[in-house]
Symmetry: D3
């Protein structure tokens, strides 16, 4: 019964891509640890680029360069 | 000073229902562990059904069946 | 399919108390939002008092007073 | 490579203030623990006041008093 | 620069299996969303079975049946 | 009433350093956003190097180089 939280910047991930993430990570946990896919939860959080920082700067600033 | 994070799908929980969750979980922590309600934090995250997966599928897909 | 994360200081919560938290919060989500208890996840994190701060001080310091 | 998640109520924090939080917390981790700022991640989550509870009440209710 | 948090019960995952999870999820994010693996963070949390509940019961209880 | 979660690798941070993190981040939120320090929570999670990945590798592997 794993719980996976994937956090990415909100930059246009499509519903199809989210489906692939959900399917892929669920399969990975089954293959590596034998976890039952039926009780694997995946939550994707999309974060505004103003709200994500790396190297002391927001991603909004990084994307401008 | 407990911290509780409740994550649910974004499917129309009302302000009244959220109040009941906040009140109920705060009371539970007081009853079971004697925690002071004044410093109990509760955060409710509502997650789009495209962004929540179970059993390798998004909740959007599950709701269609 | 709610996901609940309860974070408390590591100060001796018993297995019995944890069971009561799990049961209580699962029931609360069923009563307030009609959520199916079978797919309600609860994770309790116990945090060392050195690692939890409130009011700019660690709980270890607060407990000494 | 620290990861910092700052959760605040959604009450008008500006892009400039978020930049200062990102810069400040990244610098703090460098000063206190010698962490490389290049691989320090900061994510700011803004939470609706209906969805944040303290003392058994939502922040929306608290703000009315 | 995705951040992935994988939470599993503490039931003997090996260092090798953890490596496979880290590698697999990093590759998945590159394949599906084109994310740079160099700035993909993965954190695995192992949770005691007393501290994980599903269906209103702890995993410790479920494992006894 | 901000909530801050700092996640670092478990590599010997002292109680004194944790105090400085708690004090520093609480002060930062007061300075930047005017948040009341009395209701600022900080939780520090220390993560084993086997359980933290970056660039598709565990930190345990990275530290060997």
């Amino acid at each position: 019964m794993p719980f996976v939280n994937i956090r990415i910047t909100r930059e246009g991930a499509t519903a199809q891509q989210k489906k692939e993430l959900i399917k892929g990570v669920t399969r990975l946990l089954e293959e590596v640890l034998g976890k039952n896919p039926k009780t694997t939860f995946v939550i994707i959080d999309e974060v505004d680029t103003d709200n994500w920082g790396i190297g002391g700067e927001s991603v909004t600033e990084l994307r401008k360069r």
